[in-house]
């Protein structure tokens, strides 16, 4: 939960599309009590991929979808997983090309203990997050963990 708290508190690490620039090192994948791993995860945004690869980035649908993703994360942080899941589902419907929406939907299902239902969604997330390698890898790792 601390992990999520910091991700949400950071304003949603996946809200902004990646920008060109120097690549950052990824922090280790460890959860700690003080949330430092979460901060690291929040920083774990790829910055080395052009936005143009993601057809949906920058469109009004993507913006709206991302806002709904943020609402869902707000629910997730307070432990209201079913509500969070509904928001993420809505986000995927607003913009079916939004890989982040699928990622968070998969993650909320993992939180809810429904690994079987999470797997397919994470596969979809992985296929859409190509322009965001770090997030694609994160989806892949989560997918591997539920399998």
């Amino acid at each position: 939960m601390a992990l999520l708290a910091v991700v949400v508190a950071c304003g949603g690490a996946d809200r902004e599309p990646p920008r060109t620039g120097p690549e950052r090192r990824s922090a280790p994948e460890e959860r700690t009590e003080d949330g430092s791993a979460a901060e690291a995860e929040a920083r774990e945004i790829s910055t080395d991929t052009a936005i143009a690869d993601d057809a949906g980035a920058g469109t009004p649908e993507r913006e709206a979808s991302q806002q709904v993703v943020e609402e869902g994360k707000g629910y997730l942080i307070t432990g209201r997983t079913p509500e969070a899941e509904r928001r993420f589902e809505r986000a995927t419907r607003i913009d079916p090309t939004n890989g982040f929406a699928f990622y968070w939907l998969g993650r909320s299902r993992v939180e809810a203990g429904d690994s079987a239902a999470a797997a397919g969604v994470l596969e979809k997330a992985e296929s859409l997050l190509g322009p965001y390698p770090e997030w694609r890898d994160r989806a892949a790792r989560l997918l591997a963990s539920v399998r």
């Binding site: 979808s65 419907r93 607003i94 397919g120 969604v121």
Partner: protein, 766 residues
């Protein structure tokens, strides 16, 4: 001297002295026994489930968000079906909308979704280029990510009494609604014990004066007893029973409980064959909103209806309704329930009835399908009484477009082809629309007339898919890396194969053969021979496996005729398999039910989107790309003449002797399948492009998808290479015709065109 008294003054005989008290005692005993019996009757019905509540099936909510395409006509139709009333200038109350220059103002109703209640919300939708350019709160101007126009009721499952009722707690009902009812029906409700002698005497005097019945003496408690426990017969015995039960009710239960039962029990008129029962259902019916949102004038209108819902029906006799409403307001004012100012304003209010333009018969096949899906856990009998709210995936706009496209399209075929007209009314069809991203069943039409036939051809009919199966043959080929590509050539010349001891020899439908052709051409022109040869080459078992992975659950036998769709599937499963193509190889399970909520608001069933990657995105992309040619140069090119301007992929299908005509067309946003044929398998004499394609085009235009051009996203390992279409090899300057072909990276041709010479530098474009 004692005088004898006259007989009339003598003491009554001894037996009389005994008989009278005994009779009285027995009468009292009988009365007491009757009271006990009545008390049990009152209690047993009261303590259990008070009403048998119909279950309701809802469509999906309509999401509004920046970037969404929004067709003005479709949107307004949705608002009207939900009972929204157009206002000039602005919106003040829930259930109102206004159109201004380039924007919509909508005051959304409150709605209780499975995941919680949405309060009323005034929104402003700014439009630009046919899309929502901004969505804001109409008052605070705060920008909103999304808003939902509430779901529409698409079906109600009644028991034999056909009573439509939505119970509400008394605390949820505004005070002015309760006051209006009390003022006109029982002003001394809180002062009497169930029977009101003062009211009875007053009513009797009023009736004597008028020489007719102008006023009733029944209290609210008596009315409740009459409606809830007794029949409408007019006998003294029934009146006595009613009075006794009213007294028992008052003795056993609180005034609050009695009033709550009354407002939920009372009859407010008819909606077709069903009765409108209770204040919430009445508010929804007459004003298109919840009783929680009812104003004073509307409350007085509803209270006035109770006496005689037919006579005071605002839709039929607005003058009588207004007179009655004003009488209720006067009574409220006289009884000091409202102020002078409230009275004046309410009397001046326009009688604005907002009947919902509900269309509960637009999706009967879909509702049946949903009920079958629920049948294991919720048999129909349970649904008739437990008041479930079933939230589904149906899009009402798309459903109406699909239904109209099918009914008009089939009738048009009968008009245009005399041989079909000979069996007028028998030609049938089905439409299935799926959202490939989620598996949502967005529309389902199982036949042209539900009244005539409830057989749901979309879900229950098993028909041969014909050529609509071919894409799965090509997809199987592309699963073999490096061996096959859209540019690979194959022979389209007759051949024979021995299968099961019999010779099988495929033919093209026009019996012309094309020699060496590319796989792209073979698919877009739907060549039977080339496709059969390909299927035998890649392996029938593998073709069968691919189709199953995509979503065809029916048995597929690995016979040569498999390639040409000579087995049976349901339209729904075929549409589902195509949805896997539209979704880039990720299979979503068809989903029709999102949630079911019981009458206590608890979610008793929740179904989620399920998806699995079953096929590689690159191979699927090649098929999608080839099937786009079907519209531009293939068997569905008529779609352009019929007015379809968007980019989509699709496939026509026709079975042996033209028994089935199919068209399946899809984008990344939807898969729409159309089937046309006879139930008894008689030939219709038309191919898919003549019988099914026009219906598909009408649906796409009617549902607002007519000119959309979404691209299928190309996986990162797809490359475009210029080739000679005759050889499938790299184009050279000597090639008379070239085209850019799609390949999975690493499988593109390496050799320059062997037919038209070589050049020093082939050119590749990534």
């Amino acid at each position: 001297m004692a005088r004898r008294l006259p007989p009339s003054l003598r003491r009554p005989p001894r037996w009389v002295l005994v008989a009278v008290p005994v009779t009285l005692f027995l009468a009292l005993l009988g009365l007491a026994a009757w009271v006990v019996v009545l008390e049990r009757q009152v209690t047993s019905k009261w303590e259990g489930r008070k009403w048998s509540l119909p279950s309701r099936v809802y469509s999906d909510a309509y999401l509004v968000y920046p970037g969404r395409r929004l067709d003005a006509e479709d949107f307004e139709a949705r608002l009207r079906r939900l009972g929204y009333l157009e206002q000039a200038g602005g919106v003040d109350d829930p259930g109102e909308y206004a159109r201004e220059e380039g924007e919509w103002l909508v005051y959304l109703h409150a709605f209780h979704y499975p995941d919680g209640a949405n309060p009323p919300l005034p929104i402003r939708i700014r439009m630009g280029g046919g899309r929502v350019s901004a969505l804001t709160h109409a008052r605070s101007r705060e920008s909103l990510a999304s808003a939902a126009l509430e779901p529409e009721v698409i079906g109600v499952i009644f028991d034999q009494h056909m009573e439509d009722r939505t119970p509400v707690d008394l605390e949820e009902i505004p005070a002015h609604v309760v006051d209006a009812i009390l003022a006109v029906e029982d002003a001394r409700f809180y002062a009497h014990p169930g029977i009101d002698p003062i009211r009875i005497v007053g009513a009797a005097l009023a009736n004597l004066r008028a020489v007719q019945t102008v006023q009733g003496g029944s209290t609210i408690t008596q009315q409740l007893v009459k409606n809830y426990y007794l029949t409408a017969e007019r006998t003294y015995q029934r009146k006595v029973k009613e009075a006794l039960m009213a007294a028992i009710l008052e003795f056993k239960y609180s005034k609050r409980d009695i009033l709550e039962a009354y407002v939920n029990e009372i009859y407010f008129g008819q909606r077709g064959a069903s009765s409108i029962m209770g204040i919430e259902e009445a508010a929804q019916h007459y004003f298109g909103k919840s009783v929680r949102e009812i104003d004073l004038a509307e409350a007085a209108t509803l209270a006035g209806l109770i006496r005689d819902p037919r006579r005071y029906n605002p839709a039929q006799s607005p003058e009588s309704t207004q007179e009655r409403r004003d009488l209720v307001l006067k009574l409220m004012h006289d009884q000091e329930r409202i102020t002078d100012d409230q009275y004046a304003r309410a009397r001046g209010a326009r009688l604005a009835v907002r009947r919902r333009d509900a269309r509960v018969n637009d999706a009967p096949y879909f509702v049946d399908y949903v009920l079958r899906e629920l049948a294991d856990r919720y048999p129909r009998q349970l649904l008739q009484s437990r008041g479930l709210r079933i939230f589904t995936t149906l899009d009402m706009g798309e459903q109406i477009a699909a239904r109209e496209a099918l009914t008009k399209g089939v009738a048009h075929l009968e008009e245009g082809y005399p041989r079909l007209a000979k069996r007028k009314g028998d030609l049938e069809g089905a439409v299935v629309v799926l959202d490939p991203q989620t598996g949502f069943v967005r529309a389902m039409v199982g036949g042209r007339d539900y009244q005539e036939s409830q057989f749901n051809r979309a879900e229950q009919a098993r028909r041969q898919p014909g050529s609509t199966f071919k894409p799965f043959v090509y997809l199987t080929a592309f699963l073999t890396p490096g061996r096959w590509s859209p540019a690979t050539t194959i022979d389209d010349e007759p051949f024979e194969v021995i299968s099961g001891g019999q010779t099988w020899s495929p033919e093209n439908y026009d019996r012309t053969y094309h020699g060496t052709v590319s796989l792209r051409n073979a698919l877009s022109q739907s060549m039977n021979v080339a496709t059969s040869r390909l299927a035998l080459s890649v392996g029938l078992d593998r073709v069968s496996r691919t189709a199953k992975e995509a979503g065809i659950d029916s048995r597929l036998r690995p016979l040569p005729s498999l390639a040409l769709g000579a087995f049976e599937v349901t339209p729904l499963e075929l549409a589902s398999a195509y949805a896997t193509l539209a979704n880039g190889g990720i299979r979503t399970q068809p989903l029709s039910i999102l949630a079911a909520v019981d009458d206590g608001g608890e979610v008793v069933q929740h179904r989620e989107v399920k998806m699995d990657r079953v096929l590689p995105a690159d191979a699927v992309y090649l098929v999608n790309d080839m099937l786009q040619d079907v519209f531009d140069s293939g068997t569905a090119r008529r779609a352009r003449n019929l007015g379809y301007g968007g980019h989509a992929a699709g496939k026509t299908g026709t079975t042996n002797d033209t028994r089935d005509a199919w068209f399946v067309g899809y984008t990344t946003e939807l898969v729409a399948l159309v089937w046309v044929g006879y139930d008894d398998n008689s030939p219709i004499g038309l191919h898919g492009d003549r019988a099914a394609l026009p219906i598909w085009v009408e649906f796409m235009k009617g549902s607002g998808y007519g000119d959309r051009s979404p691209d299928f996203p190309a996986p990162r390992n797809i490359v475009l290479v210029e080739v000679d279409p005759e050889t499938g090899e790299l184009a050279t300057p000597g090639c008379p015709v070239t085209r850019f072909e799609v390949f999975v990276e690493g499988t593109e041709p390496q050799r320059e065109c062997s037919l038209h010479g070589h050049s020093d530098d082939g050119w590749w474009i990534f």
